[in-house]
């Protein structure tokens, strides 16, 4: 079973990489972009029946650093 995990910086945490991407987009002539936030996408292939609690623990213990990041788990 494929599970998608999206790790994003918490609101209010400065994202220097997002800012750099934003500037690069502007440099390419793409106007009208007001902000860019970069995150991480992780695809897990887990045993069928893996519990929500286990997936949550994987995120909280390793995949995200909850000091600065939020995560969202998406099952197919």
């Amino acid at each position: 079973m494929k599970v998608n995990v999206y790790v994003t910086l918490k609101p209010g945490v400065l994202d220097p990489q997002g800012k750099a991407i934003h500037h690069a987009l502007e440099g390419l002539g793409f106007g009208g972009v007001s902000d860019v936030r970069a995150g991480r996408f992780i695809e897990l292939d887990v045993a069928d029946g893996t519990s929500d609690a286990d997936l949550d623990a994987m995120c909280a213990k390793l995949l995200a650093n909850t000091v600065i990041e939020n995560y969202r788990i998406e099952r197919p």
């Binding site: 220097p16 990489q17 390793l62 000091v67």
Partner: protein
Amino acid sequence: MKTAVIVFPGSNCDRDMAVALEQVTGRAPAMVWHRESELPDGVDFIALPGGFSYGDYLRSGAMAARSPILRAVSDAAGRGVPVLGVCNGFQVLTEAQLLPGALMRNAGLNFVCRTVPLTVENSQSLFTAGYQAGETIDIPVAHHDGNYFADAATLDRIEGEGRVAFRYADGVNGSARGIAGVLNDAGNVLGMMPHPERAIDRAHGGTDGLRLFEAALGVLA
């Protein structure tokens, strides 16, 4: 005085750290590989060196913080054994939740590699007792992810508890409140981005890092 340096795949300041520890204690440290689950008996000082453990995969320090030896380091820290994390070692200590906060990409996005002035904020800790509070010392930095972040409540708490050991005298990497080094609540774990082991010999261009090792290793003149 028995010391240990933890070595991860991708550590690259482990030998510099070993030279510093041997210079100050007169005895070579045990070099402990990350797969070990125990520290040598009777270790009374542990150093986590700089570098790029596990290639900085996932986040700087994230994989190292989950390696077998970190459980032993965490247990030792809980018993009061002094633990010093420098640069990547600081990142590992925050990822292992032995220190608060996180180290993010430098605000200017550049790798910063130069000697910077630091203000000693707390001269009462076992690591900083060789300095005067408010003193400015020059220590090299070399990092890409040194931008210290913690939420405002955490920053207020660690400041109020005197746990900010060092602050950058000038802006270096965008760190919250200029924080360069943080102590744990018991005061026996210090994480810092600047490299004191690179400032222990006149040939380094400065020796301001030496007093940190002398104080922490109990050989202060």
